[in-house]
Symmetry: C2
Subunit: 315 residues, 2 copies
């Protein structure tokens, strides 16, 4: 493995875990950025619970980007309007970007004009940006796409993911509404503070890879309720193509959800039914994918790309 | 889909099925090559049981290659020494090559010098060659590689494939020894006429992708016997890395084999256990992968490559 010079941008639980894995792999982190005042000025190594590494966290990205990283590992927020300026600043500093921003997994779906601006910035500075993660980015989009390779014809794609949120970190349990009343859940959905971001992006990535033109994607989100309390959510995206439901992405994330798993069913020739026993653990997987993506973005042509357009990531 | 100008090279059951699918997809076949005298001079469309397409089968490839195909769909034999001259002739005629030759899935494993010659011919003519198939090429190598994307660390890879040969074409049943006596089976193995070609290549492809240096690959092949008659074979490749068995590829192809399936187990963080219920049908899958590879080889940089180095194939 060739060590790469990195900046860690966003030091929440995922950003920190990505930084830790990158260091473990022998990469060199030269800058760390986070807006949390409690983190400013602290050494990144200390934040990771290890020896200091001589990299102080700054709230302003300019300082870190001035140290000429080859790649920025970006993990701040889920929506493109929240992160576009951050990512463009990285690209304009000559760094490629691997971001866990969910909407960046397939940015043309909701924000085509901004995606084009990011693409333009990447191209004009000869660098690459890609959105990665386990979901979106792998289990409900890239994996189904890869599984169509042996198919002569694909009529419909169905992916089911069931996560027992009880085995996951607290912020994720909050994100899925665990512990709320049904009324609080509905209010959270209405306010956009609840729910998984990225099902629509996954549907759009699948359609793009298979050359399907989607009429539209309909998303629904319902609480999983037990004893009057919300345990989590059940979210479905349905992509229609020529009037038929061609893509169905069915996600349950709830405390105590039975039979946790990932499942892909292709209505195809030959048909395909694939099960990931127990499911893929989201946090570990997202960190690993981000670090595994480093050599791929460095080798990719300049521009904004997707994991479905890159050679297979691997450990 | 952009129609591509093709030559079909090798018109056995797999080659014919590939040609049929390519036509169905709207590609244009301008030449067809096969050494079988019973096929020479016949129209490819007629051989496919459809209307004539104005392409007569020739035993000599030069005629077909003179029609300037962009891609040759090559499906003749399993071993690189048998096919190297055929493939180099295609490349020197300026055509990219998608071949189902098993050893070409990872040609450096057994035939590094010949692989380098093929690579040189491809580069100097600005075209690309790749070996494809369901096994080797997908289910026991590319799929495990793709499944390592969410892993921080991979310690060992195990792939199990069980095929009920009773559901497959007769040549495949013969290839696995079905109906032989155990003594005939042993003689067939010793003569190299029996057995699956490609397990070692799959192990080498996995090791290459994961950056592992293999100490060596040990292959064993045993008959599956019932009532004194061979039903098929059980073949295992074990790749050792730093003294440990790091890659285990376990293949059973036998008439009536119970619980047909494909299975990938990663001893990894997070661990991964993936099952393809019922397994992937080999013949349909190999044809689909060959045709699905056409746009990928046309977009790839010149040279001899592998499916693990290309962006994900898909339908």
């Amino acid at each position: 493995m060739t060590p790469v010079t990195l900046v860690s941008y966003g030091l929440g639980p995922i950003g920190l875990a990505i930084a830790a894995l990158a260091l473990e792999r022998g990469h060199r982190i030269v800058g760390a950025v986070d807006i949390d005042p409690a983190k400013a000025g602290r050494d990144l190594g200390e934040l990771l619970g290890r020896e200091p590494i001589g990299v102080a966290v700054t709230a302003d990205a300019g300082d870190a980007l001035g140290r000429r990283p080859q790649v920025v590992l970006h993990s701040t927020q889920s929506r493109i309007p929240q992160v576009a300026a951050q990512i463009i600043a990285c690209l304009e500093a000559g760094a490629s970007v691997v971001s866990t921003c969910e909407e960046l997994a397939f940015p043309w779906y909701r924000h085509a004009a901004t995606a084009d601006r990011i693409d333009g910035a990447a191209r004009s500075h000869g660098v690459t940006a890609v959105g990665v993660g386990v979901n979106p980015g792998f289990v409900m989009d890239l994996l189904p796409i890869v599984l169509t390779a042996p198919c002569r014809e694909v009529r419909a794609v169905r992916a089911v993911r069931v996560v027992d949120a009880g085995t996951r970190r607290l912020p994720l349990q909050r994100k899925v509404g665990a512990g709320m009343t049904p009324a609080e859940f509905e209010a959270g959905v209405a306010a956009g503070t609840l729910g998984h971001v990225g099902l629509g992006e996954s549907a759009a990535m699948i359609a793009d890879a298979l050359g399907w033109s989607l009429d539209g994607v309909a998303e629904t989100i319902e609480p999983v309720v037990n004893g009057g309390r919300v345990q989590g959510l059940h979210q479905i995206a349905r992509g229609r193509c020529r009037g038929q439901e061609a893509i169905t992405l069915d996600l349950t994330m709830a405390v105590g959800a039975p039979d946790p798993r990932d499942e892909v069913v292709l209505d195809a020739d030959p048909p395909m039914h694939v099960t990931v026993v127990g499911g893929i653990h989201g946090d570990v997987a997202t960190c690993a994918i981000a670090v595994n993506a480093i050599p791929r973005v460095l080798a990719a042509p300049p521009g904004l790309t997707t994991v479905s357009r890159l050679p297979a990531l691997h450990a």
